[in-house]
Amino acid sequence: MFVVKYRKIFFALSALLLALSFYGMFTYGFDLSIDFKGGTLTEVKYSDVPPTLDELNTKISALDLGGFSVRPSGASNFIIRTKELSQNERDALTQAINGPTASSTIERQNTIGPVAGAELKSKAMKAVAVVVLMIMLFITFAFRKVSKPVSSWKFGFATIVALAHDVIIPTGIFVFLGHFKGIEIDLLFVTGLLAILGYSVHDTIVVFDRVRENLKINRDTNNKEEFETTVGKSVAQTFGRSINTSLTIFITLLALFLVGSGATKDFAFLLIVGIIVGTYSSIFVASPLLVTFQKLAR
């Protein structure tokens, strides 16, 4: 199977994407939303001709609220991010952005204290770590009966490498998007990452399950086959269904991305990226890694 045979090419491709992701993370950093750093987010909708971005910027900077950002959202909405505002400051902001050519309504306003934000941040990171660890333990457990030629924890470890791959690359893509498009890392982003973790392992399990089955058949029929061949065969046998199970999710996510609400658009996009990367890693990273591990052990 070409996947296993040319595994170094696929490893290199993944390594390149990972390197790019890390490059983005270290040069641009994370554009965290108020969910994690605290602050106030105000979305304002204008009924008539909305003011220009410059006009809004001038008006808000006159309020002396410290650093802020204004981003257009849709045709007549603006999203304004500021520090955590008190009641008086909120009122002043509402006053300032109202009129003169169009009346405005506050569509939504979220205020999150810095403490709550920081707490959520640590909780989010813990959640990702806990999911990764639990899945690794589970895989090790599920494949406990497999011992030859690779021990079950290696299945778990290959899964973890694939999972890390599936989290880092979408994060990298969002870091670039954050830098160039202003997309922020918020709680929904973390939710999406966790969902990707849970899903990406599905495909990996499908292939590993087949490896498990083929190993058993080889044992029962006393068939001396190279482990590399067994894995390649398993990947080939499950190739179609790996793609198809992802495709069904891809279809619904695409609908969510194209016609779903604005609140979940970025989220849907993240999941789409995650599903693609996750499927790729199950076939081209996790399974070939098993072979690499087995060769290393010899």
Partner: protein, 434 residues
């Protein structure tokens, strides 16, 4: 005959799901939507429970007080709940979450809750005079020690007038628990000063003359009649057992919410139709069965959302739409396996059997990992994430039933005994013709 049994069960299932689907369109039990879909305000308060012994108890009565208050203002279907944050992260923080659908003026909402007074009874420390001398900015906490007697033990407050001076007073009547506590405090600390503190200000600091066992007390704070009346009203509506501070607030306009809901529902519909087309084109007859099973999945899930009830948020809807895509995963695995067995030359009936039993292991293992993720997500939970976790987790469980048991019953009901080329074609999939 075995397939006869499958046929009977299939018909029963169809009738049940048909009925459930029909009832879904009637408004027997409406869905519960989150604030981000209907508009409204969510306020999260941090409660300072450092001075109370029984935290759970105090939080419970805090919840009751705020509930009374919110109800008084006629907000429809408010949700007041308490949450113990950070059990795992170590720093225990008690939170009060207030959701006010339809209220989009955040200042109004804050005012509505914030006016609730915190009433406390505290003993003055013996060296109070020295403390204030040494530090003129000494706080209440420096000068007074807590007695545990607070506004939550109040049964009623009334406006009274001093019989001699006609000055307005506020009369307090404690409940049974408060009466016992008050009697104990006044018995044990005779001659000391018991300060009455409202929202951090000392209203009056009378000396305990005698043990008071009837549960009655008076506040003489030099009130005007109007002030006394307001205080009584606020105390009766509920004095807060613990101080609270606003930590997070969120307001969503009603129009934004409605459009988010419409868009979410539309995305679900389009996603489903596209998925059904794919299933039927690629998986043929079993694909059609999978689509029927998927419809039953959607009907069952929506009912579970109604019954539990699950608060549907934008993220929750996204989770549900995602789960529609995941629900057919098991079917895909089964059908692919069936095709493999068909290719080996087995009969349709045998192949289906093998398909189901061989695919089971990988279905089980991958679903367990999804459930692990859902549980962790639920724990991470602010309301938006909880909604997603809940719909995703329930989706996995329900789809195990529909994608495996339901579609299995249907498939075996229609599975042919004979094996003509055309029948084999119907049960195979993809580019495979025979």
């Amino acid at each position: 005959m075995k397939s006869k049994k499958h046929i009977v069960i299939s018909i029963l299932l169809l009738i049940v799901f048909g009925a459930l689907g029909f009832l879904l369109t009637k408004d027997y039990k409406p869905f519960k939507f989150g604030l981000d879909l209907v508009g409204g305000t969510e306020l999260v308060y941090k409660a300072d429970t450092s001075k109370v012994d029984n935290v759970a108890d105090a939080m419970n009565s805090l919840k009751e007080v705020i509930e009374r208050r919110v109800n008084m203002f006629g907000v429809s279907e408010p949700i007041v709940q308490t949450e113990s944050a950070g059990i795992v992260s170590g720093n225990k923080e008690e939170r009060l979450i207030v959701e006010l659908p339809g209220v989009t003026d955040i200042d109004e909402a804050v005012a509505l809750i914030g006016q609730t007074p915190v009433l406390e009874f505290r003993l003055q420390k013996a060296n109070a005079a020295e403390i204030t001398k040494a530090n003129p900015n000494a706080t209440i906490d420096d000068v007074f020690t807590s007695t545990g007697l607070t506004g939550r033990y109040l049964s009623r407050a009334t406006v009274e007038f001093d019989p001699n001076t006609q000055a307005p007073l506020v009369g307090l009547l404690f409940n049974d628990e408060g009466t016992d506590l008050f009697s104990k405090i006044t018995t044990e600390n005779k001659g000391q000063i018991l300060a009455i503190i409202l929202d951090g200000n000392v209203l009056s600091a009378p000396v305990i003359q005698d043990a008071i066992t009837n549960g009655k007390a008076q506040i003489t704070g030099g009130f005007t009649a109007l002030e006394a009346k307001e205080l009584v009203r606020n105390l009766n509506y509920g004095a807060l057992p613990v101080p609270i501070a606003l930590s997070t607030s969120q307001t969503i306009g009603a129009s934004l919410g409605v459009s988010a809901l419409d868009a979410g529902v539309r995305a679900g519909e389009i996603g489903f139709i596209a998925l059904a087309i794919f299933l039927i084109l690629w998986y043929r007859l079993p694909g059609l069965i999978a689509t029927v099973a998927l419809v039953s999945y959607i009907i069952l899930s929506l009912w579970v959302f109604k019954i539990i009830p699950v608060t549907l948020t934008a993220a929750g809807l996204a989770g549900f739409i995602l789960s529609i895509g995941m629900a057919v995963d098991a079917n895909v695995l089964i059908f692919e396996r069936t095709k493999e067995e068909l290719k080996k030359g087995k009969s349709i009936y045998e192949s289906l059997h093998e398909g189901f039993s061989r695919a089971w292991l990988s279905i089980r293992d991958s679903n367990v990992s999804s459930i692990i993720t859902a549980i962790v997500l639920f724990w991470l939970g602010t309301s938006a994430v909880k909604g997603f976790a809940l719909t995703l987790g329930l989706g996995v469980l329900i789809s195990m039933f529909t994608a495996i048991s339901v579609s299995r019953t249907f498939l075996f009901a229609i599975a042919p005994r004979g094996d003509s080329g055309f029948k084999r074609f119907l049960f195979s999939n993809g580019f495979h013709i025979k």
